[in-house]
């Protein structure tokens, strides 16, 4: 026992190279989503992986006399997962930046690319200078994102995947996309409506990422890469994948120093909080009347209306809100062109409308039947009875549950970052990557959420206490 445990502990502490040798294989990570041509499932046989990075890693592993094993990991979280120890290498189009070098070890570059500006065919906005005051799409935390942030006046639209920026460009939601040449070739220039405006805005290179402390493994990887390059093996791999090789970039002197967590970043957080609050309140302002109409339709409507209201509620409660946002923003885009903010408010509002409908239906049904009988006995019409007697009572009963739903909505609103809206949580992740720390931005982000939701929670508690004092039962919120 002790004899086996001791060397293992030493290996983990001291040497990355010894560790992978003990494993007998290199565990390397990438993201298969939008992975072509890096590493992706073979369309002819989805049980197999293909890609130029897979071939690169196999050649590398062979040089080191090891096997290799792929680990799937979300692209934007590759670095934190590496630090956690989930795998040994990141080989997935990782761009060499000062910020990255400050956080992990990187290998020598294995591929050089150009940042390329893609626009709609015939567009007059063909350079970053001309795009001042316009919307330009890119991937969050990429080198292109960093370049765009150095250009004040450009409105940056951030995406999580390679395909979506070009789709939005086609749909006139943006005026250009800046991304590296591999992505631009595969995902942008394959669309007939798009063309290249500037083929070489800047140069960058892909590197392999390793954990700090794995210096000997990095040296081994570097010499293996150098050998592969000298033998022409790298060149053969790129030729097989039709990847254009560019000369290595000149060392960039003008690269901005890594960001620090200063007042400007804090100001961005408050801006993000403003977006979160505005989206949540507007979505709730949509959800409450929508829910009320659905509840009334379900309780008092004809057979068809009851069926429609019921179907709506079950459909929107029974499918993920993330999917609804995707469909609203990307799915129906060829028919209806919604701006991202409108899609976010509409999507959350329509989803929460289904929950509010159930809250208000429960509140209406909790009113004793004698109340509508008393209203009828006075000669009030059904509409008057509803408006003057039943609804005021139901809304008071439902108010605590609706306040609780608003708190939930405040937090659920972070989902809208998938459709390019930068709200509080998204701002936090962007900042965290910039300043290479999650602790302080995370704490500030949590504090702002808390500052927004705690007063609401107090309000809900007070409303509940008031209802109980009045002898009425508050309606429990259905589990969301």
């Amino acid at each position: 026992m002790a004899m086996a445990a001791l060397p293992l502990a030493l290996l983990v502490a001291a040497s990355g190279l010894a560790r992978v040798r003990a494993q007998g294989e290199i565990r390397w990570a990438g993201d298969l989503q939008g992975g072509e041509p890096y590493v992706f499932r073979d369309p002819r046989d989805p049980s197999k992986l293909v890609g130029f990075e897979l071939e690169l890693v196999r050649a590398l592993a062979a040089k080191l006399g090891l096997g290799e094993r792929f680990v799937q990991n979300d692209w934007s979280n590759l670095v934190p997962s590496l630090e956690r120890g989930d795998f040994d290498l990141i080989v997935n189009g990782l761009e060499d930046t000062q910020a990255l070098r400050g956080r992990i070890l990187v290998s020598r570059p294995y591929f050089t690319f150009a940042e390329q500006l893609v626009v709609r065919r015939g567009s007059t906005l063909r350079s970053l200078d001309a795009l001042r005051g316009h919307r330009v799409g890119t991937l969050a935390s990429s080198l292109a994102h960093q370049i765009l942030r150095g250009r004040p006046g450009i409105e940056i639209v951030l995406y999580g995947g390679q395909e979506e920026p070009y789709r939005d460009l086609e749909l006139h939601r943006t005026d250009a996309v800046l991304l590296d040449s591999i992505i631009a070739t595969r995902y942008g220039l394959s669309k007939p409506d798009l063309e290249l405006a500037d083929p070489d805005v800047a140069r960058g290179s892909y590197v392999i990422g390793l954990r700090k402390g794995d210096g000997d493994l990095r040296d081994a990887v570097d010499s293996a890469l150098a050998a592969l390059e000298a033998e022409g093996e790298l060149h053969r791999i790129y030729a097989r994948w039709h990847l254009p090789e560019l000369p290595a970039p000149a060392p960039r002197a003008d690269e901005p120093p890594p960001a620090t967590f200063d007042l400007q970043q804090v100001a961005l957080f408050f801006k993000g909080a403003g977006v979160t609050l505005a989206i949540s309140l507007l979505a709730m302002a949509l959800a409450v009347p929508l829910g009320l109409s659905l509840a009334l339709g379900r309780l008092y409507g004809g057979a068809l209306m009851r069926l429609c209201a019921h179907a709506y509620i079950e459909l929107f409660r029974g499918t993920p809100v993330l999917l609804q946002l995707y469909i609203l923003y990307y799915g129906i885009a060829p028919l209806v062109h919604l701006p991202a903010l409108a899609a976010a408010i509409l999507g959350l509002g329509m989803n929460y409308g289904a929950y509010e409908a159930e809250v208000q239906r429960a509140a209406l049904q909790a009113i004793p039947a004698a109340q509508s009988e008393a209203a009828a006995a006075l000669g009030l019409s059904r509409g008057q009875s509803l408006r003057l007697v039943l609804l005021p009572q139901a809304l008071r009963t439902a108010l605590p549950a609706m306040t609780n739903d608003l708190i939930a909505l405040l937090k659920d609103s972070s989902l809208v970052s998938v459709i390019t809206v930068v709200e509080l949580t998204k701002q936090m992740t962007i900042t965290a990557v910039d300043v290479r720390s999650w602790a302080l931005p995370g704490a500030l982000c949590a504090a702002i959420y808390f500052a927004m939701s705690y007063p609401l929670a107090r309000l809900a508690a007070r409303l509940e206490a008031r209802l109980e004092a009045a002898g009425e039962e508050p309606v429990a919120a259905p589990a969301t």
Partner: protein, 244 residues
């Protein structure tokens, strides 16, 4: 005759609740409706303003007629209900409104009175039932007896031609019954009232006639002294002996 009922029949499922009731009420009479529970008194009263639909027979009330099987939520019943007031056993005030707002609601929204006029009359009515100083109170802040007096003022605010009262004191403690009954006694003689009640003292002293219901039939109909002291039927005699 302000109320005329002919051959009224009503069944709840298999149970026959009313088995052919004929009755008439003249303007400003006070009718006390008594009888054992389950006799059909409350159902009869609710048939008169359409809160319960009946199966056969005819009702004429306040110049309007009601036909069998009219659904309780039929819009055709609204003019009738504007002229026929109702007071319930458990008051059924609207808890989100003040006493005065409860009284105002129907005059403003059904009769389309101006708010000022309705408010003036509402305050006067609450004063008349002894609650002139509780206009701004919510139902939860009032005792049962006070709530029932607000409910009476709410019904009177519509200036009904007929007032139906369904056991108006049964949900009250004994000490609160007196305050409600004295309000009803003041109304007797100036308003047409049909009161389902167990208060024999009230029936004897305030009613112009007593009706005794038994098993869905009206078995006694006459002045209080005659009906209570010298009833025609054995069943009525047994009933009065039991409640004495």
């Amino acid at each position: 005759m302000i109320v005329r009922v002919q051959g009224l029949e009503k069944a709840h499922g298999a149970r026959q609740v009313l088995r052919g009731v004929d009755a008439q009420v003249a303007r400003c009479e006070t009718i006390a409706i008594v009888g054992p529970s389950g006799a059909g008194k409350s159902t009869f009263l609710r048939c008169l303003n359409g809160l319960v639909s009946f199966d056969a027979g005819a009702v004429e009330i306040a110049g309007m007629s009601l036909t069998p099987r009219t659904p309780p939520d039929s819009p055709a019943l609204r003019p009738l209900r504007a002229r026929v007031g109702m007071v319930f056993q458990s008051f059924h005030l609207f808890p989100h409104l003040t006493a005065l707002e409860n009284v105002l609601l129907a005059p403003v929204h059904v009769k389309r009175e101006t708010r000022e006029a309705a408010e003036e009359r509402g305050r006067a009515l609450l004063g008349r039932v002894g609650l002139g100083d509780r206009c701004a109170a919510r139902p939860m802040q009032l005792s049962g007896g006070q709530q029932q007096r607000v409910a009476i003022a709410r019904a009177l605010a519509m200036e009904p031609e007929v007032l139906l009262l369904d056991e108006p004191t049964s949900a009250l403690d004994p000490e609160m019954r007196g305050e409600v009954l004295s309000v009803l006694r003041d109304l007797a003689g100036t308003t047409t009232m049909l009161v389902v009640t167990h208060e024999m003292w009230f029936a004897r002293n305030a009613a112009s006639r007593i009706w005794v219901f038994d098993e869905g039939r009206l078995i006694e109909d006459g002045p209080p002294s005659q009906v209570t002291e010298n009833p025609r039927t054995d069943r009525a005699r047994a009933f009065f002996r039991a409640v004495k």
